[in-house]
Amino acid sequence: MEYSAHRALELLRLGSGIPDAVFREGQEQAIQQVIGGSHRWLVVQRTGWGKSFVYFIAAKLLREAGAGPALLVSPLLSLMRNQIRAAERMGVRAATINSDNETAWPDVEQQLAAGQVDVLLIAPERLANGRFREQVLARIAAQVALLVIDEAHCISDWGHDFRPHYRLIERIVGTLPPNLRLLATTATANQRVMDDLQQVLGPGLRVLRGDLARPSLCLQTIALPSRAARLAWIAEQLQTLPGHGIIYVLTVRDAQQVAGWLQSRGFNVRAYTGRTGEDRPELEQALLDNQVHALVATTALGMGFDKPDLAFVMHYQAPGSVVSYYQQVGRAGRALDSAYGVLLHGEGDRAITDWFIGSAFPSPEEVAAVLGALEEAPAGLTIPELLPRVNLSKQRIEKTVELLSLESPAPIVKVGAAWQLTASRLSPAFWARIERLTDLRRREQQQMQDYLALPFGEHMRFLIAALDGDPSGITAPRLPALPSSVCPGLVRQADDFLHRTALPIQPRLRWPDGGLPSGLRGAIAEDRRAAEGRALCVWRDAGWGELVRRGKYQDGRFAEELAQACAEMVRAWNPQPAPTWVTAVPSLRHPMLVPELAQRVADLLGLRYLAALQKADGRPEQKTMQNSAQQARNVDGSLVATAAPLPRGPVLLVDDLVDSRWTMTVAAALLRQHGSGPVWPVALANTGNDE
């Protein structure tokens, strides 16, 4: 294929909008050799370097020479809007297909069929989706002229982040005949990852790898054991630090809590998590435009986010690996002379990363349960059909099914809507790999501990060495270290804040799919539903979490502070019509624990307490039921009303933990049925496991 250097440069200038732009080192050679088909390329460069110019210009030149479209696989489609705009300036017609834009699929399909798409961008999960493969991809699969794999480090087991569908990509790439053009890109790959990629992407692979050191970044680690101290530190520093930034946290709950605290201190910050949904583009844009001071984000604010003048990246907790950390902190100071990257760490961080490691893969028991249920069902089972048969949460079932189906050969395959066993058994290699990956995560965790212990000035060298980069040119930090002390008054206020969180308990509106053994099914009648309730805290949360745990599992009695906090919460909440009496969810195992708490709350509120409900029989503890279908069945028929008729007024229904909400739902229905007014649920803690 003829390569026109003139046309390539013209496209670069159009795309970048810079009339005298020139190619960066290696960029043009990669474009030329990829379209000529003489070599496959792996481009390892930081975000913002211009990887997208390589593939968009290559795709455009191929199209102009009469070849078929390019297919780009990237987990970061939502973050590619800037790149797509640049592509459009070059006249590249890019179309995106992902799970969020299903309504646009027919249009895209039509454009594909008419040959009007130059680059089709898809998320890796699409490649495993039957409908997409059969209805969209099948039409163009024969014409795909260039395959681009973004975040290619995920292909390697030695990559720092694990995305299950890259297993599929690894196999697809491994099967490609050598005549298919291929370009792989990533921002970070250590030597081990590059060796793996060399293996998968084939002989003759050319690598273009940029310098990893970031002289503008001033890195620092600060140990602050309590969360209140960390909240206080961030609030204190935000007042003086110039510019805009990101505060990374480990969980969605942390993002909400930190953002809530900072907002209460008057900072213009917003939480950004995987659950932020449709608002994500707007929040990203707000930060790009300096409309917010900072985003408090989980890793959902991912690799492709590019704000050259980001002035700081703080971490509220220590992440699980230094490579992830490097990627996150590396977003700061790209086009600035200096920027801060500060990692706070303390109690509880390790437990969270432990949890991530422990729950990353299904256990042998989970796999056995799913395969066992499928063994019993020759015609296969859908996910909703698996729920009543397997006592695992829906999320765990989905994860198990997904990982099994991504094996090759796979022990299960989706036929229509149902999962079916195939003529392959699960290979022992499945478990060996999980073990290997888990070991790797443990080593990464240990490496992070080593990083935390470094003295000021040593951090960048450590990170570059961990990535097998060249640490020789590293210079001393350009900024002074930030103070590691924090104002005690502010810590107290942060502590108060952590104890002041009341979370809504949404009422359930429907009985579970398929109904209950007692015959309840469909919508829950309005006069049988619970009203919206409140939980004092999240189970194991900072703030009240520890006191709740101690009361339930250690002391057998909840502390006086908890009863007072409950009463405070109800007063502040002030539900209307106001409750006139209080009752408790009964338990056979701990007959006094909750009624005694409810009694005290009633006393504090000056209301009457009445034991209106009783356990009908001993059931397994509700918390051992792992999904909604199981939980609902477990509660059904387990409660009876003791006194009838009940007081007619609105009632406060007290429990210690709320999990699936089925106990509250059934209890509320019973109370209403026996004549009570509206039921206001109140719990000490929400487990957050709800589906």
């Binding site: 297919l71 059969e134 209805q135 099948a138 099967t175 490609l176 005949p177 050969p409 195939t422 003529a423």
Partner: protein, 438 residues
């Protein structure tokens, strides 16, 4: 376990296979097995392998490979690399493997016996070693009485005791009875499917035998391909070619797949000895096959006798072709078929396409089916399309614009052929649920 996909076989798939990954895969001008052989011969002359077509010098090679094959067409086929990957991934997930004619696991009997008409690839599931194990082919029709089913089961049991596979087509009736007889007696079986391998491998009963390593399912057509008469007939000769000897349990006279497959063997191919059942209810069809040269089944009464019979290599009529290397670049001498005058083919009443790769447009076979059969062929394919959605007889009549009794008659025929099922309350006709072999 699963054989690896070789680079040569990738090239062969790109040139000859539809690589179905969905219903809407656009049509492409694939090479027929014969066209492919021509390319392979030419590559051999150039001292090249199929895999070289995927290297950096493709354009040069293609210009050498002609004449007769348009290099642009070949290039277009070879550029389907991503589609190949997606298709292979789909097969692999279902434990389906592919062996090409250059691979060591490719059934050598087929390469030697079918020559240029041998399928360029086999798709399979199960123990790949079964490809080269030979065995006793057992064929017969779908609709037979209990006595003949019992007979087929017993034949399967005997093969099991002799530790030889039963080779059959996996269709209902005699095929399945013989295979089940073998498998349930602890033996092995090889089912050669004409369609829907992908669905057959997840069928629960098949799965258990497959996992056990005793059932091998093979197909020369894409695992997603649906039923079509041409593939079914092409499949018949593979059953013979994979075996050491064949037993026809029953056959219609001068019609149906069993008759066509058996007479093709007896009159033209002569790969293996063909026997006909010689006990029980007499049959016009079997008697007529005797006149075509089939031998009476000698009713071996012990595994040893069956082994003697299978190991005597004398084919009916003329000696079997000597096995030769299955190397695709050095294929066996062309089979006798290509030298036969058209009259010989004309004696086969149903159309017997020679190629096994289906969607390639080919010149009409020289055999001229009867006018009635031609109509029925059209009716069959139209109805099968129509009945992907279950319909009543009235709806079918309406769609075809014929009187209802006519539609009913056609539907009854399709039921008799095992292609269509009738479901009660309300009465609806739909495609036969595929494909439990048992």
């Amino acid at each position: 376990m699963m054989p690896a996909l070789t680079a040569d076989t990738k090239a062969v798939l790109l040139l000859t296979a539809p690589l179905l990954t969905g219903r809407d895969s656009p049509d492409v001008a694939l090479l027929s097995p014969r066209d492919y052989r021509a390319v392979a011969h030419r590559l051999a002359e150039l001292q090249l392998r199929p895999a070289d077509l995927l290297g950096p010098d493709t354009a040069d090679i293609l210009s050498e490979v002609g004449p007769g094959t348009d290099p642009r067409r070949l290039l277009q086929l070879l550029q389907r690399g991503f589609q190949l990957s997606m298709a292979v991934e789909r097969w692999r997930a279902r434990a389906i493997w592919v062996v090409g004619s250059g691979d060591p696991d490719y059934p050598q009997r087929v390469a030697a016996r079918c020559g240029d008409a041998a399928p360029p690839v086999f798709y399979g599931c199960g123990e790949v070693a079964g490809c080269t194990a030979g065995g006793l082919a057992v064929v017969g029709s779908r609709h037979v009485d209990e006595a003949l089913l019992d007979y087929a089961v017993e034949i399967g049991e005997l093969a099991a005791r002799a530790a030889r596979p039963v080779v059959s087509g996996g269709a209902r009736g005699v095929d399945q009875a013989a295979m089940r007889g073998a498998l349930e007696a602890g033996g092995t079986a090889c089912g050669v499917l004409a369609d829907s391998l992908e669905r057959a491998v997840t069928n629960r009963e098949n799965r258990d035998w497959l996992l056990d390593g005793r059932l091998l399912l093979l197909s020369a057509v894409d695992p997603q391909a649906r039923f079509n008469v041409g593939n079914a007939m092409g499949r018949n000769k593979l059953i013979y070619a994979l075996s050491d000897a064949a037993l026809v349990v029953n056959s219609d006279l001068e019609r149906g797949g069993t008759w066509a497959g058996a007479t093709e063997q007896l009159d033209r191919r002569r790969c293996v000895p063909v026997y006909v059942r010689s006990t029980g209810q007499p049959s016009e069809g079997l008697a007529a096959l005797r006149r075509h040269g089939a031998q009476p089944w000698p009713n071996p009464d012990s595994p040893e006798r069956l082994l003697d019979l299978l190991d005597s290599t004398e084919a009916t009529g003329s000696p079997a072709l000597a096995a030769s290397s299955p190397d695709p670049v050095q294929p066996a001498a062309p089979a006798a078929e290509s030298h036969l005058p058209d009259e010989a083919r004309a004696s086969v009443p149903t159309a017997v396409p020679r190629a096994t790769a289906p969607p390639t447009p080919r010149p009409a076979p020289a055999a001229e089916p009867s006018a009635a059969e031609q109509v029925m062929t059209t009716v069959r394919s139209t109805c099968l399309k129509l009945l992907r959605t279950p319909r009543s007889a009235a709806e079918v009549a309406d769609q075809l614009d014929v009187l209802r009794p006519q539609a009913q008659q056609w539907l009854d025929r399709l039921i008799a052929e095992g292609l269509v099922e009738k479901k009660p309350r309300p009465v609806r006709y739909s495609l036969t649920e595929q494909p439990s072999l048992f």
